[in-house]
């Protein structure tokens, strides 16, 4: 980014960011509509409702951390887009491992917090299983989305920091809601 004084005027910052923010908002409304269609289920099972923001957040975080790491590796010339690339494989494995560590804890935490304030609507085992499976599916999808987006940015010579992180974060947000409800329908 060029840091001249023109780039620090309020109107210049707003003009640069607002169009992208509006596009991302439109993408996020898709996950809002999915949530709305499950509103009755969510209100009947508060532990599932409690899982919504954290699942959305973790999906976006897994994707954005991976995107930032791949972008840096790309800038430094350490990464090639081949299935046998060690750095790509290592980061993908780490993303799935992180997800499998954090999501079961998130499930147990969600059940515990809901139990603390009222009815959970689901058993502890069910909530942990939903969280674990959602985390597994979501991390695999996050890897695919991130690698494809980073590759596209690289091919079209866009700065990965400017483009990849916001796109990946918001797409993974939407996937978080879809995966959570997909898994809930299969498990419960």
């Amino acid at each position: 980014m060029v840091e001249g004084s023109a780039e620090w005027s309020v109107s210049a910052i707003v003009r640069t960011m607002l169009p992208l923010l509006c596009v991302l908002t439109a993408i996020e409304l898709v996950s809002g509509l999915v949530l709305e269609s499950f509103e009755a289920t969510l209100l009947a099972a508060p532990s599932l409702l409690l899982l919504v923001p954290v699942t959305i957040g973790m999906g976006g975080n897994l994707g954005s951390v991976l995107a930032a790491r791949l972008s840096t590796a790309l800038h430094l010339g350490l990464l090639s887009f081949s299935p046998t690339d060690d750095r790509l494989a290592g980061n993908a494995v780490a993303t799935i491992g992180l997800s499998l560590t954090v999501f079961p804890l998130v499930g147990a935490g969600a059940w515990g917090l809901t139990a603390f304030v009222g009815e959970t609507g689901l058993t502890l085992g069910t909530v942990v299983l939903i969280a674990l499976l959602s985390g597994l599916v979501l991390s695999v999808l996050a890897v695919v989305v991130t690698v494809v987006t980073t590759y596209a940015a690289y091919r079209y010579r866009l700065d990965p920091d400017d483009v990849v992180v916001p796109v990946v974060t918001n797409v993974c947000d939407v996937l978080g809601v879809l995966v959570l409800f997909g898994v809930y329908r299969v498990v419960a």
């Binding site: 840091e3 309020v10 991302l24 908002t25 209100l43 954290v54 957040g57 973790m58 494995v93």
Partner: protein
Amino acid sequence: MTVREIAAEAYRETIPVLVLSAIGGLFAGLVLVGMEAELAAVPGLLVLVPALLATRGNVYGSLGARLGSALHQGVIEPTLGFGDERLNAAIAAALANGILVSGFAAVLGVVVLRVLGSESAGLATLVAISLLAGLLSGLLLTVAVVTVVVVGYRRGLNPDTLAGPVVTTTGDVVGIATMLVAARIVLAVGGG
């Protein structure tokens, strides 16, 4: 480095931030569960939850990144108290972006719900809640991001690694809590 070493390094570097943001996300969920009455009273409010949460992350995450780079390059002064013109402009622009996009989310959400034939509260109610939540969360997150980045920088910490975790942990809780407060205020004023 082998695949195993690369994976282990990436895992070690990321796990603290993920655990912090998971804790933030769980508390955001707890507030959402406490918001059941407002969700039922304002049809369409739930549709806006992901969009408004993402806006907080996108706008104030980018503010943090911008301030981090600017401090490194000496473009802004590490002062709190509105003395730096560029810092003021970056804050004003972030607030403007956050509020404008929140309003846009409400308008677009109502239009889509109407087109789909789904139930929704009045346009004025949802726009009022969204704008108010955008303003309140913007003020809180600006204070959090600017304080942490500036104070962290003065103490010799890298602002780039501070801004991200601050936004991810506080953004969701602040985002949902301000939606709840805004919904209560608008319902009390009689917009429901």
